[in-house]
């Protein structure tokens, strides 16, 4: 279509040409030039007026038609306000559910690095253990990657860290990231104020650059957005840092959905964790997350190939630490860090389920529209008889549907605005950086608008075309008497309601499978007893403690806690089983055991204090528990699990066997039973425990366990109170009951099953309403027929059967189709289901029964109404 201005110019030129030609002809016939031009113009008439009339022909006709359609549509919708309300509400539920889940997906998966430029070029480099499991990367490995990989433009470490900001008396716990000097280059972020890391701050010299960049929010809340903050000093983990810059408001750090308050150089790691300098100089100290930006024109596969070939070389060059290891590149949304790793699966499943709900909504809306189109046949036939083109009617109906869809999507956005924060209530992260709220941004609005259009097309087009296709004469004839409904319209409605039932059955079966799986997983015994246990984590590195100070703190706190009423046992360890974050592992060598060629000897471990097993009621199978004597001055010992023994010491005595780790030989002094470490659903894997007094890893912090015979809340209060009394500068976190803490390990299943149940409920409600609507309409349409049947001697029971049979036929067909669909779809989520078969017969039977029962209810009301029909009234009924 030509632009308006050029059309205007063309018209102008066309008329000018006309005038010139007319004038020229007069000149040729002998007129004076000036007169000829004047006469030609006079003959032509009012040039502007001619233009205007011509313009009218071209221009705004469609707009006027549209305005007329909108006005007429609004009038129609207002006239039947109940009908409109039902439509808008139905659409609002469907669109609201989809928009809400999309806004979550966008915040977590699609837009994981807000504030960064070209975020799709940013990738994550993850090291891979010989088993293929991902592991963090050591600083030395990062160093080599950074200096040798050419297809990555820039590379940075980024590691989230809880930090203590404040003086000796009071500290505040904030979350920061320790990063390389070029972190902001990788993300293409510019400072809002001050500068980012430059010059020397980018080198690898350790503990030499105590500088920090603040987030906009932290700068705003602590420094009142004052420019004076630049150059000011802030105490972090007991060391003064100079503030050099402020990040822009849109930037929150490098982890999807999480928001950090400050960024410090990774070279300060040793100082921040009070571990000196060895951790950045040990290739085995794998603790960093690595981000990189692809070089221009390079795709991720090419860069991944280069990473792979470099790691092949590195694993040989550093065989003592890295044998069999490799690395890969992943897009950010596939990263194992951040909340997206746990949310990818549940959110995709939920998006699918809300799609099902939306389809049901479409079917319902289409059904309602069809019913109304049928009611409006008279109106349409009159309009068509008066000369309205069929397309004009289609446009009229489409406009009405679009109006409804627009209202529905607005109402849906209101629902989304309420619910977009709800994801964070469902998330289990207690001890985590602040979560970014999912927001309704341009992308979400676009999604909703697109969806509304699709719904309008899907639900509105069929009825509209249907109306237009009808023959005018037939309609006029039929419109007068509704003895029998249009056959085609009824067939379409039957199809719609059957697919609705089928979709609802799919949703119901899906929710059933997930719920059953969730409850089975919840019922799995973890191998330890989390009841009546209070938990708290202490961050000693933030307090600047060394091993002796931490040990003194722990012993003192333990003594104080043991005196509290109700407390029956106190212990501590550096890891809590069933945490969301994986624990640490160590390369082991077991005396008398020869590992296979590619066997993974990186064994997960926990560093525990004496009394740990008794407290958690983990059975000691052989040997002894750890004691306070198992400290740095005594020979190194460890306790292994049943599975460890089965794998590595299949014969002979396990006690006294030597195991090599941390560069030393340990003696096995005991064997305990297996417990669930990472997931409730995992199979037992070798695991071992070493005394926290012999191996100290302050960067992990320590968790205190308090078993009480009284109330867990009182124990938690005591934990906080006594810790404050011992030393108030040690940041405390994750103060919670152990039951709550380990319940978190099922959060993905919990989100999926609880939200799926809600969606399935909505789906079912909508489908039942749809079925009821169709049945009620069918009864109304057949009133005449029922009257005839009854006057010819049909009994009420016969009529009841007639109607109920039809409704149940829809439900039955829907159930069968839905069950088959569910069988196919459930295969996709098998990985998510714990010990539940995707074809679990009980779930299918329950879903079928439930569907038939509801269908019976939805059919019963119209059917009963049909039997109350008075034959005489019915025969006269129009």
């Amino acid at each position: 279509m030509k632009r308006k201005e050029t059309r205007e110019e063309e018209l102008h030129e066309e008329i000018r040409n006309h005038l010139e030609m007319a004038a020229q002809e007069r000149v040729e016939r002998g007129a004076v030039a000036d007169d000829a031009a004047y006469l030609a113009r006079r003959e032509f008439g009012n040039v502007e007026l001619v233009k205007e009339v011509t313009r009218d022909i071209r221009g705004w006709r469609w707009l006027e038609d549209f305005a007329q359609d909108v006005l007429y549509g609004l009038r129609m919708l207002r006239r039947d306000i109940a009908f409109t309300a039902v439509l808008v509400l139905t659409l609002a539920i469907g669109l609201g559910a989809n928009t809400t889940i999309f806004s979550w997906i966008r915040a977590v998966l699609l837009n994981p690095l807000p504030g960064a430029a070209e975020p799709e070029r940013v990738v994550e480099l993850e090291s891979l253990a010989p088993s293929g499991e991902w592991v963090p990367t050591s600083y030395l490995d990062f160093h080599d990657f950074r200096d040798h990989i050419k297809l990555l433009e820039s590379m940075s470490v980024a590691q989230p860290m809880a930090l203590a900001v404040g003086d000796d008396v009071h500290v505040e716990r904030v979350w920061g990231e320790v990063v390389s000097g070029n972190f902001f280059d990788v993300l293409h972020v510019q400072p809002e104020l001050g500068r980012f890391f430059t010059g020397e701050e980018r080198n690898d010299a350790q503990n030499a650059h105590p500088v920090v960049v603040l987030s906009h929010a932290y700068w705003h809340s602590r420094y009142g957005s004052s420019p004076q903050a630049i150059g000011a000093t802030v105490r972090i983990n007991r060391t003064p840092y100079t503030i050099i810059g402020v990040a822009p408001e849109t930037f929150h750090g490098s982890m999807a959905g999480l928001s950090f308050d400050l960024w410090a150089p990774a070279t300060m790691y040793g100082q921040l964790t009070a571990t000196g300098t060895w951790m950045l100089r040990d290739r085995k100290a794998r603790m960093f997350r690595v981000l990189a930006r692809l070089a221009p024109g390079v795709n991720i596969e090419q860069a991944r190939a280069e990473v792979l070939s470099l790691t092949a070389f590195m694993s040989k060059a550093n065989a003592d630490t890295s044998e069999g290891m490799s690395a890969t590149l992943l897009p950010i949304w596939k990263s194992h860090y951040g909340i997206q790793s746990g949310l990818l699966a549940p959110l995709s499943i939920l998006m699918g389920a809300s799609g099902v709900v939306l389809l049901i909504v479409c079917a319902n809306v289409a059904n309602l529209l069809l019913a109304r189109t049928a009611d409006r046949r008279k109106e349409f036939s009159i309009r068509m008889a008066l000369g309205a083109a069929p397309m004009r009617l289609v446009r009229q109906l489409s406009t009405e549907v679009l109006l409804i869809a627009a209202a529905g999507s607005l109402a849906g956005l209101v629902i989304t605005a309420w619910l977009s924060g709800a994801l964070w209530w469902l998330l289990p992260l207690r001890d985590a950086p602040k979560l970014l709220a999912a927001s309704i941004d341009g992308g979400v609005l676009l999604f909703t608008a697109g969806l509304a259009l699709a719904v309008a097309a899907l639900a509105g087009l069929a009825p509209a075309l249907h109306a237009a296709r009808e023959n005018v004469n037939d309609m006029l004839k039929e419109g007068g008497r509704s003895g029998s409904a249009g056959l085609r319209s009824n067939r379409l409605r039957a199809l719609l309601v059957t697919s609705e039932m089928a979709l609802a059955v799919v949703a119901l079966i899906g929710a059933g499978l997930f719920l059953k799986s969730f409850y089975i997983a919840k019922g799995i015994h973890p191998g330890f007893d989390p009841n009546q246990v209070a938990l708290a984590k202490f961050n000693f590195s933030a307090a600047g403690f060394d091993a002796q100070q931490a040990d003194a703190f722990c012993r003192h706190l333990r003594e104080q806690l043991e005196r509290q009423p109700g407390v029956t046992a106190v212990s501590y360890a550096d890891y809590v089983p069933l945490s969301l974050v994986a624990g640490s592992w160590e390369d082991l060598q077991v005396e008398g055991y020869v590992p296979g060629r590619s066997e993974n000897m990186k064994i997960y471990r926990n560093l525990v204090a004496p009394g740990f097993f008794t407290l958690l009621k983990i059975p000691l199978l052989e040997g002894r528990d750890l004691t306070m004597q198992d400290d740095a001055s005594h020979p190194k010992v460890m306790i292994v699990t049943r599975e460890f023994m089965r794998r590595f010491v299949p014969s002979g005595s396990v006690l006294g066997r030597k195991v090599h780790g941390w560069g030393e030989w340990f003696t096995i002094v005991g064997v305990v039973d297996d417990v669930k470490i990472n997931r409730l659903t995992e199979k037992a894997a070798p695991y071992f425990y070493a005394p926290v007094r012999q191996i100290y890893r302050p960067e992990m912090g320590l968790a205190f366990y308090v078993r009480t015979s009284g109330s867990v809340n009182e124990a938690l209060a005591a934990l906080r109170r006594e810790a404050q009394a011992v030393d108030g500068t040690v940041p405390i976190s994750d103060l919670t009951s152990m039951n709550d803490y380990v319940g978190v390990s099922l959060f993905a299943q919990k989100i999926a099953s609880s939200l799926l149940s809600v969606l399935a409920g909505i789906a079912f409600l909508l489908a039942s309403i749809g079925l009821y609507g169709v049945m009620a309409y069918s009864v109304a349409q057949r009133t005449n027929e029922i009257g005839i049947r009854m006057s010819l001697g049909a009994q009420r029971r016969d009529v009841l059967q007639l109607i109920a049979k039809q409704g149940l036929a829809f439900a039955l067909a829907g159930t069968v189709v839905g069950a088959i669909g569910a069988l196919i779809l459930a295969r996709l989520v098998t990985a998510f289901l714990v010990t539940v078969s995707p074809a679990d017969p009980l779930i299918y039977a329950a879903a079928a029964t439930f569907t038939m029962a509801l269908a019976l209810a939805a059919t019963a009301i119209p059917a009963r109404r049909a039997t109350r029909v008075d034959p005489m009234v019915a025969l006269r009924y129009e």
Partner: protein, 115 residues
């Protein structure tokens, strides 16, 4: 004023369309050429009002009965030429038969044959 022109368009609509389509049957022509052709062929009886001609041309183009393009005229001037499309030819045939019916009917009324 505007109404005057619009009224005339409506009055002349069917006839003018027919005349334009018929004129274009002889070959592509610009607006002025069409008005001259109609005037000449009608023996100077039919004067096409430009206020009707251009709206009619644009309307016919919108209905895809005629198409336009900018070309150089015989006087070496750039002008917008209209030509008949395939749909336009069909339309011309049907309008012609309608016109024949109409004129038969009217002349039947004006000159009633005795039975």
């Amino acid at each position: 004023m505007k109404e005057r022109y619009q009224n005339r368009i409506e009055l002349l609509q069917g006839t003018l369309d027919l005349l334009i389509l018929q004129t274009l049957q002889w070959g592509p022509q610009h607006g002025y050429g069409i008005s001259v052709a109609i005037r000449n062929r009608s023996g100077e009886i039919l004067q096409v009002d430009t206020g009707s001609l251009y709206p009619a041309l644009h309307r016919l183009e919108k209905q895809k009965w005629i198409a336009s393009e900018w070309k150089i005229s015989e006087n070496k001037q750039r002008a917008k030429f209209y030509r008949l499309t395939a749909a336009g030819k069909k339309q011309l045939t049907s309008e012609r038969s309608r016109w024949a019916q109409l004129s038969d009917a009217i002349s039947g009324i004006l000159n009633p044959k005795k039975i």
